[in-house]
């Protein structure tokens, strides 16, 4: 599966401090460890604390690129912070993320095309994050039609139906599985389906177990990528097993090793 590694994010205290002190070695280390753990993309998020988010984003992107050639997911809700990251990105990139209303998509899709970038689109609009299945799927349909209208390659589109913490509303995980199944039917070729997995277990006492159980159920329902903690090897291995069970990977006695490499 396509994995987006979550650790280079200013919400984590070590990264927050590194941004403040311009301490490159912390970022280098995280970039290398996450790449070795099998990250397809490294998420780059400056968090909310940085005094100058543009400057922080440029520094994080450049510093990460000093250590690895792994593709980057430029993560901000602010368009100009995303642009600041894109300007200095040399590695392959993904934009994380656009909201799902047409006006936003008309800005973000051409921006992604201009930078040959992949694009995460959230199923949220001006009214916020929908709580039901139907509105999420409707927004996903808007995203798909906008992608087709702009002639963007569907393989570069990642729809994120926004997973909510399990301890907030226990109906939501079941809804998510239904949403994944329906998004798969929206177009052929189909877009990727992704979630910010750690959000699911936020505030719980069994984060790792909850994350990997949800990941397995989600993969069975059609999820093929996630923003997650790639340093959690049990979680990564659970994803590999789920894909192998679904016959997406050919079994061999060393299938874990083969998929990790």
């Amino acid at each position: 599966m396509i994995t987006i590694a979550e650790r280079i994010n200013g919400m984590f205290l070590d990264v927050k401090r590194a941004i403040k002190e311009k301490n490159a070695s912390v970022i280098h280390e995280l970039a290398k460890r996450q790449t070795e753990a099998g990250a397809t993309y490294l998420d780059i998020n400056v968090g909310t604390a940085a005094a100058d988010q543009h400057d922080a984003m440029r520094w994080l992107v450049e510093t990460t690129q000093e250590a690895v050639k792994t593709p980057l997911a430029i993560d901000s809700q602010k368009l100009d912070v995303v642009k600041a990251g894109l300007e200095v990105a040399k590695n392959k990139v993904m934009i994380n993320s656009s909201q799902g209303e047409p006006e936003a998509l008309d800005i973000y899709i051409p921006l992604a095309q201009e930078h040959n970038a992949a694009l995460i689109c959230l199923t949220m609009n001006k009214d916020g994050v929908p709580q039901d299945v139907d509105t999420r799927v409707e927004i996903a349909a808007t995203i798909v039609s906008k992608v087709l209208e702009h002639g963007m390659d569907m393989d570069k589109v990642f729809i994120d139906p926004i997973i909510l913490p399990v301890n907030v509303d226990q109906k939501q995980p079941g809804y998510m599985l239904e949403v994944f199944s329906q998004i798969k039917l929206l177009s052929d070729p189909q877009p990727h389906i992704t979630v910010g997995l750690s959000n699911f277990s936020q505030g719980t006492k069994e984060k790792s177990l909850l994350n990997r159980t949800m990941l397995i159920m989600a993969v069975a329902a059609g999820l093929d990528t996630a923003l997650l903690d790639v340093l959690d090897q049990d979680l990564m291995d659970a994803g590999i097993c789920a894909e192998m069970i679904l016959n997406k990977q050919i079994y061999s006695d060393s299938f874990l090793k083969a998929a990790r490499s």
Partner: protein
């Protein structure tokens, strides 16, 4: 009018290119080399992507006269079965072989138990007689293969041969010598895609580069398991094109030997009068097995009968 939809598949992976044989400039003595693989589309669906290199034909040469070849096949080799060098020359000059596959049945304890010295001489005489690349295939007795193949490999050092086969139970010696002497390696599985993948992982774990591996799933001829073989090749190729690096190696199949041991190729006119002419049956058996497997995604086809070779070559030309 409605626009015709574009149905081309976009694959994310590709089959690795493997070059067999080395010219003088490259440290060998071959007049030509053969490169296989390189495709990023399913066989002959080049609207999907790059077709890669065409399938090539390796003609078998044995180090000991074959005991069980039926007359319609043997008659084309009668004058050379006792001389592997002349046999190879005939295959290269008259029968259109792209490569020679030297099968070392003679080193098997039950089939002659030939010595390393004798085998090295055979290999050298073939390398002198022809300038096309060489495949060297053991006798599938682990003990004898592990004894003889390292010496043969060393004697052919620099020629970038394709040597086989490494199996799940016996791969360390042959992998190490191919690595040391710069040869390509055949990884072999018993019609089992999971073991096929596993053996590729095992040899690459030993440091063998996966752009020097050719996979062999023991071939089944027409009527003798060709469907299993076909579906394994096809599934392996789809996995390769979908990005499975361990499956992204070219594939060899053994059509000649498997077709000519079928009873349909061996039964004489008097034994099977209702089966059609004995003279043609084996040729058709071999040709149909080959053209079927070509569709499944194979890169080297081991063959025997010159007429079957000619049919298959024409078929490949027609498809490309």
């Amino acid at each position: 009018m409605m626009q015709i939809p574009n149905v081309a598949e976009k694959w994310t992976g590709a089959v690795k290119e493997v070059t067999i044989g080395a010219t003088k400039e490259e440290g060998g003595t071959r007049g030509k080399t053969v490169t296989i693989g390189g495709t990023n589309s399913l066989p002959f669906m080049d609207f999907d992507g790059k077709p890669g290199h065409k399938p090539v034909i390796a003609l078998d040469v044995y180090d000991t006269p074959p005991e069980d070849w039926p007359e319609p096949l043997l008659k084309h080799y009668e004058d050379v079965v006792n001389n592997p060098a002349n046999w190879a020359k005939k295959c290269a000059d008259e029968y259109g072989a792209d490569l020679i596959c030297l099968k070392l049945d003679g080193i098997h304890p039950d089939k002659g138990n030939k010595s390393a010295g004798e085998t090295i001489n055979t290999v050298k005489s073939i390398l002198e007689a022809v300038d096309i690349p060489l495949i060297i295939w053991g006798c599938e007795n682990d003990e004898r293969d592990n004894e003889i193949l390292p010496k043969v490999s060393e004697a052919a050092n620099g020629e970038r041969c394709l040597i086989g086969g490494a199996t799940q139970g016996n791969y360390k010696t042959i992998t190490a010598v191919c690595l040391a002497d710069g040869h390509n390696l055949i990884t072999q599985a018993p019609v089992d895609i999971n073991i096929g993948k596993q053996i590729n992982i095992l040899v690459t774990d030993l440091g063998f580069p996966n752009d020097r591996i050719v996979m062999f799933q023991t071939t089944g001829a027409l009527g003798y398991g060709i469907e299993y073989c076909y579906s394994i090749h096809e599934r392996g190729r789809i996995a390769a094109l979908s990005g499975d690096r361990q499956m992204s190696t070219p594939v060899i199949c053994d059509v000649g030997h498997e077709s000519w041991r079928a009873k349909e190729s061996k039964a004489s006119d008097s034994e099977a009068p209702q089966w059609g002419s004995f003279a043609n049956r084996g040729i058709m058996w071999e040709a149909i097995t080959a053209v079927t497997l070509i569709q499944s995604g194979v890169d080297i086809i081991r063959m025997n009968h010159p007429e079957a070779v000619s049919i298959v070559k024409k078929h490949i030309e027609k498809l490309t």
